[in-house]
Symmetry: C3
Amino acid sequence: MNNLGLWHGGDYYPEQWLDQPEILNKDIELFLQAGINTVTLGVFAWSFLEPEEGKFDFTWLLKRVDQLYENGISVIMATPSGARPKWMSDRYPNVLRVNETRQRQLFGGRHNHCYTSSVYREKVARINQKLAQTFKAHPGVIMWHISNEYGGECHCPLCQDAFRGWLKKRYDSIEELNRKWCNAFWSHKYLSFDQIESPSTIGENMVHGLNLDWKRFVTEQTSDFAACEIKALREAGAMQPVTANFMYDFKGLNYKRFSQEIDVVSWDSYPLWHKRAEILTARDNGLQHDFMRSLKKKPFLLMESSPSSTNWQGVSKLKKPGMLKLDSLHAVAHGSDSVLYFQMRQSNGSSEKFHGAVIDHYGGEDTRVFQEVCEIGEALNSLKEVSGTSVRSKVALIYDTESRWAMEDAQGPRNNSLYHHEACVKIYSAIKKLGFNVDVISMEDDFTGYEFIAAPMLYMFRSQVEEKLRTFVEEGGKLMVTYWSGIVDEWDHCFLGGVPYGLMDVLGLRSTEIDGLYDGEVNHLVSVSGTWEEKEYECRNLCDLIKVQGAEALFVYRDDFYQGYPALTRNQYGKGLAYYVCADVEAKFYDDFFRRVMKESKIEPLVRGEIPEGLEVCSRESDEFEYLFIQNFNREPVTLSSELMDDLEAGTFLYGDKSDHGEIGGFQTLVVKREK
Amino acid sequence: MNNLGLWHGGDYYPEQWLDQPEILNKDIELFLQAGINTVTLGVFAWSFLEPEEGKFDFTWLLKRVDQLYENGISVIMATPSGARPKWMSDRYPNVLRVNETRQRQLFGGRHNHCYTSSVYREKVARINQKLAQTFKAHPGVIMWHISNEYGGECHCPLCQDAFRGWLKKRYDSIEELNRKWCNAFWSHKYLSFDQIESPSTIGENMVHGLNLDWKRFVTEQTSDFAACEIKALREAGAMQPVTANFMYDFKGLNYKRFSQEIDVVSWDSYPLWHKRAEILTARDNGLQHDFMRSLKKKPFLLMESSPSSTNWQGVSKLKKPGMLKLDSLHAVAHGSDSVLYFQMRQSNGSSEKFHGAVIDHYGGEDTRVFQEVCEIGEALNSLKEVSGTSVRSKVALIYDTESRWAMEDAQGPRNNSLYHHEACVKIYSAIKKLGFNVDVISMEDDFTGYEFIAAPMLYMFRSQVEEKLRTFVEEGGKLMVTYWSGIVDEWDHCFLGGVPYGLMDVLGLRSTEIDGLYDGEVNHLVSVSGTWEEKEYECRNLCDLIKVQGAEALFVYRDDFYQGYPALTRNQYGKGLAYYVCADVEAKFYDDFFRRVMKESKIEPLVRGEIPEGLEVCSRESDEFEYLFIQNFNREPVTLSSELMDDLEAGTFLYGDKSDHGEIGGFQTLVVKREK
Amino acid sequence: MNNLGLWHGGDYYPEQWLDQPEILNKDIELFLQAGINTVTLGVFAWSFLEPEEGKFDFTWLLKRVDQLYENGISVIMATPSGARPKWMSDRYPNVLRVNETRQRQLFGGRHNHCYTSSVYREKVARINQKLAQTFKAHPGVIMWHISNEYGGECHCPLCQDAFRGWLKKRYDSIEELNRKWCNAFWSHKYLSFDQIESPSTIGENMVHGLNLDWKRFVTEQTSDFAACEIKALREAGAMQPVTANFMYDFKGLNYKRFSQEIDVVSWDSYPLWHKRAEILTARDNGLQHDFMRSLKKKPFLLMESSPSSTNWQGVSKLKKPGMLKLDSLHAVAHGSDSVLYFQMRQSNGSSEKFHGAVIDHYGGEDTRVFQEVCEIGEALNSLKEVSGTSVRSKVALIYDTESRWAMEDAQGPRNNSLYHHEACVKIYSAIKKLGFNVDVISMEDDFTGYEFIAAPMLYMFRSQVEEKLRTFVEEGGKLMVTYWSGIVDEWDHCFLGGVPYGLMDVLGLRSTEIDGLYDGEVNHLVSVSGTWEEKEYECRNLCDLIKVQGAEALFVYRDDFYQGYPALTRNQYGKGLAYYVCADVEAKFYDDFFRRVMKESKIEPLVRGEIPEGLEVCSRESDEFEYLFIQNFNREPVTLSSELMDDLEAGTFLYGDKSDHGEIGGFQTLVVKREK
């Protein structure tokens, strides 16, 4: 994005130390020592920028930006809308959110304003303009960071009106809305749009159409709020790119929609390392990295990460030596152009005072954490040329927000839990183990260019996804669909006449019933003799009972009254193949499935040779070069096979030593640069 | 009740498909195929019947009733009060409930109206009258179904006033109320009835007298509301019998009281099959069937049951092949004159769209579920003559709602759980295993005619139950009382001077202290040598320490400081015997106890010969015949002993094949008709 | 405190039985039989004393006091403020509390008034004055019992104003408050005191400075309320000492501060016996006794205890034979001058009707419980001379309320749980096992006179505790500090520049990082060879990583990346020694640690010879005599070593038989009187 290479730095709050200039100077000194080239300023700084209504003071901030710039450190400038000063809600109470039980919140916390309030929008626009006027031409300010971790919802009268207005635009008439929301059920028909109220536990929360449209509206309203923030910057002449920081597996917003408003996606990553095998955590978090990258199919930013422990998880575990670097480079491997931390210097009071920081309360550079941050600074410097390179994937996983909203809101086969996220991680991990890049996409995305698409639990079919998948297979693509797919349309109406809707011929089957298994209850898949090798796998939670209509059964159920019913099928359609997985099978199944299917379909991974357990391979590429990242998530060194080493040695080692013995150290990363 | 024989059908919502006449016609076709003779219409149909205030439209409904009638299908017509249209709460907010924290609810859900609101009562009366005028003379309408699953409570000002009025009638003076509620405690004396407020977690919820009277009031007010609904029908000339549908083990209403308002009891049965041994679920649900039948001591209706899975339990498990029929005939065996389902056709949207139905979203007749429904249609046809027959029981179990209310509200020996329901099921099951019918009755019921009465955990003694039990024993009855019985009177005042109140001489003992056992803690009962055979049983939760005053100890405690204290006693009183069980003993104890006691007392079961594990025997009888139901809740076939087979073969097999090998198939039902 | 010796009796509610004089007379008879010499009257009696506003009636109470006095029974007279009559909140709604979500409570329960309401203060003052006028000169009234179990908080507008006023006094300016509360964080700066609102889950609850000051304010306001109650008594001429009853490990108030208002500390003790080894329960409850005694360093009163089971715990277990006496004398051993029960006669209705009582619903004296109460009466009579004697401790444990408030509110290394209480109990138990008295003190207390001070998890350092500890060690004291100490100052600001603040040189180390361990995760401590004997202990939850700067490592970690890092250190400082425990180690460690350290430091316990497992030794002393209490918490008899027996036999056995075989019976107590 600029000539800094990969960005290294993080959230920095000089306003907390304005009365201690020696600390601010010490910060700069330590930043330089650690190879910090970028910090984020201004998050939550409103009460310093506008301490009283209409009285603005930007001098302290400008001074900081200048000093940083003089020292070669760039600034990501945040708009302050994440937290309001007290005077604003005192004078304009309607900036405060109303919760779903219709109680107006008091001042406090953060991220708690009404997105509809015109007062709040005006106040935000005004301060954003002032900020833009001050920093639009400052060479040290390289990006705008809009608010912070947008989320939550407001049920105030203003939002109710906005919701009704949004619905009026969406539906031609109240009759159409009644039909779409299925309001014949329980006598819930509305006579006019004015009668509609947002979902509430003290009112209506069982009408799925209403719940779904409310979630859509919240995304629209939040996106619109962000758009207004950005508009204010642009109108004042700020031309730097804008980002907003997203969160892990966040269900409050449809990020696919929201990301249209911004130039660059960034996110805040706080994986729980050292709780189970590190590679499992790496897969789970890697899926999120890939999701963020796939939103715009271009590099994203790691906007926040903890240099040490967090302070808000149940247990604040220290990162063991080497993990901080491994984790940081993991983000880069998946497409991040930055390693940014929360926070540069630990605050000395209030609720985040024990969150990890580059500089802790002790304040010296002789800390384990600061030393590792310095090492990362060096590593990022070595990898400078990776900045801006892209990721190409042959495989896509569909992970659609609206479909999850609808599926999880529905009362259906398993209210205890559907284990959608877990199923996606199992599938994702099986593919990553083989050494593929994976795009994690939505239903609206373009499916062309992929060789394999996995569509697990794709409950909702909209945007003609069934037509796009049909075409994909017809033209030679390989598709995997699972149980509980193609059940409802965009309005959560069940498809009549058989499911998975629109794909029954492509898959060669019809789903007839779905059985919910009690917690702890298991069934098994056994291979149909003469097809694949003899295997048996456990399945749990959900078992789809299908009637094949052309498909070939590769596995059948072993137990219960549906013993012998098909459990994994394959169907030739056009030039492609369509697989259907009937049950929530254990991870081992997916490992074996993809190993076989990718081989049969001749879809080639990034490297040759077996990838040892606990290692991950990713790649980024420029027009000329491919950058292979090999990361060892084991604490112990691992020997690489000669086949794999030969493949790697075809390139040059940009980062990490090629051992004489073909070994990769515990928690180590190798980066190999190969010509394309 | 009419000449249909046993009713077969269920809840049907044609209003959801009015714009698709081909679906409505297909419904009729499928109903006829499945032997459907009765459907319920109008539940939740208000917004179709009165889309705007005062504008009524019954044509669509009349058309459906006509078409059904022409096809030989009768209708149970529901009043629509279970869900209000939106316009009503918009115009008359006081129809909305106020919860116990005094917050007025918003529009939404169902079953959420104030039972006191005169507006709501007027609106309901008016639409009920219109319905009655339309259908009173329609030969196709055979019963009225009042509202749906009455329940819940309202704390609005109108209800507060009504509560005060009800209390004024109940107590002569505020001084009397203060005495009865024990308001000397914590300075809670009232100076006038106007000071009284309903229980609330933000106010008073520890005064048991208040809590108990509030629950009584809620039952009275709900019963009164139902009575008003019925009055409106009757005044408009409707003469068909009325029912209201009850729920499993529902503690919100005293059904004994409520059932006085209606002609026929019906209930909605959703057992969780396939979660543990089926026979255990059958016993648990059988107790509920018997409770419903005993309310009026005449046949009841199975008003709702799922043809497949439900959608609202934690896990929605499919019914395995044969279970739907077994479950349906189980209701008939216990006294139901119907097998009715929720729902005939699956709705295609909103919150119950995944609830099982006779016709599912796919819509074809080639489904496993539809085929089993057809089989049930045939079975019910074979059993036509069973309709209207009664059940006679030699054994009664007292399962009293007010006593449970008081016991569970009290802070006492075990707040973690008293396991009252579980104790009742253990006792009920032990008796059922021997082949008896059991009545499940309240304290007000008549005790004459029974040979054995079990009174487990009868905490409250009111309506002179102690006198009735004394007379019962005196005249030769066999009685079993347990720990935690006869503790308080009607107002939850502890009896002074020794407990179980009024029965100490009948039982020959006094309870001195009761020990609560921690979760997981056990004690044991051991037989007193020379009395019964040598046995040892585990007990848990509660151990009563008694002083015998005439009774004989048959078992004593094995452990703790009360080792050797009596744990099971027997006392001769008048011509009868009174047993006292001191502790919450394991099921095996009750099995052995009843086997021995019934034999010693020569109380004869329905059949001769041992009943195999997992089978249940019930009977219904007309003036001339007895209909024996033998149901196998095992998935595997079971061989019947020759003694039992001989007994059965004395009659004729009305349903189910008598196997040559004296075997009953897995999940199969036999019905044998014998002359009396 | 008077010539009654040890007080024996408890809470008595004659007002519940005024219409049954035969019961009141029976009470006196039974009291005399049981050696009752003191009862508490008037708790919750307001609606009997002032049934209507301004209409007072004290005759019934005076009559009771007279009758009791005539029978030699003294009275502790309670003020009735623990529960208001209904008329008061009806007329003056602002006496009702407002909860933290700003909802005004309804009438009900108890302990629910606003402490700020001037109306409530006036009403209380007036009735207290009337009570004082009536009983100030009554020889039967020996003490005043102010209200009951003060606790809870109110967020009404009056309390908001009072809070702001209190803050204005505490901070010179709003700028200072902003600094102290760290309001630069999240833009939370206030412009004036008027903007401040109390913490709320619907507003601000993450600003630790606010939360902490709010808790301090609640203590101040409650103390002030109590002071007003007492002032009313004193102004009306009442000269008897006053007490207020405290609760187990109560975090709602800072009892150290509150206790300044009263003459005598008393508390309500309800240990859960028979749930685990009795000695563990005894240690846990003993710590509380010692805490209560240490508040004023003089005898306290056991104000409430259950003669049998309680009714409010999850499981109401009976006390096994002997436990009531053992428990009662345990209080005396730790410094109580009384054994008082809740309640004398069981109420026959409302929420506490099943709480244990001296006289139960049955009402006879032939109960197990009543007989044991009689035995206690005799025991207390034998121990008369112990009344008024004090407890001297060489060891102190710092257990500071404000530090716990701050530590538990902070989001830090282990939000799941810090296990502070458990750590304190482990340390306390290890010391008690060796036969020491222990004072349980606050940071403000005087440290002189102690030989050993344990300061576990002393998160907050204020009142110059670091200086006091430095001096303590310098002058020869032995100190033990643990992980997570000296982290923040009085305002919860983290100390910069290294921790434990102010003690790094005394301890010879600096804490660098702290690792949170997941639930179930363990590390180990292993001894450094050549220092102490070879041992290994488990540690969990928290592991501090330190850098030694002079201290000697006695133990190091065995596992994880900090294997070999110091885990227990010792540092010579001045004439003393300072130990630092880095991790939450198992109890066995502390047992071995204190056994060794006390021996090395020649700190002598109360008795010579090994104290068997399950026994506890305490002592009280007068100017001339020492009273040794030896209590056996095992159910079985235990043999005492000859060394220990010799030591005991140097004195005389004031209570309990010296067995010929040097044995102490199960659940038995010996009291030995020795000259000093």
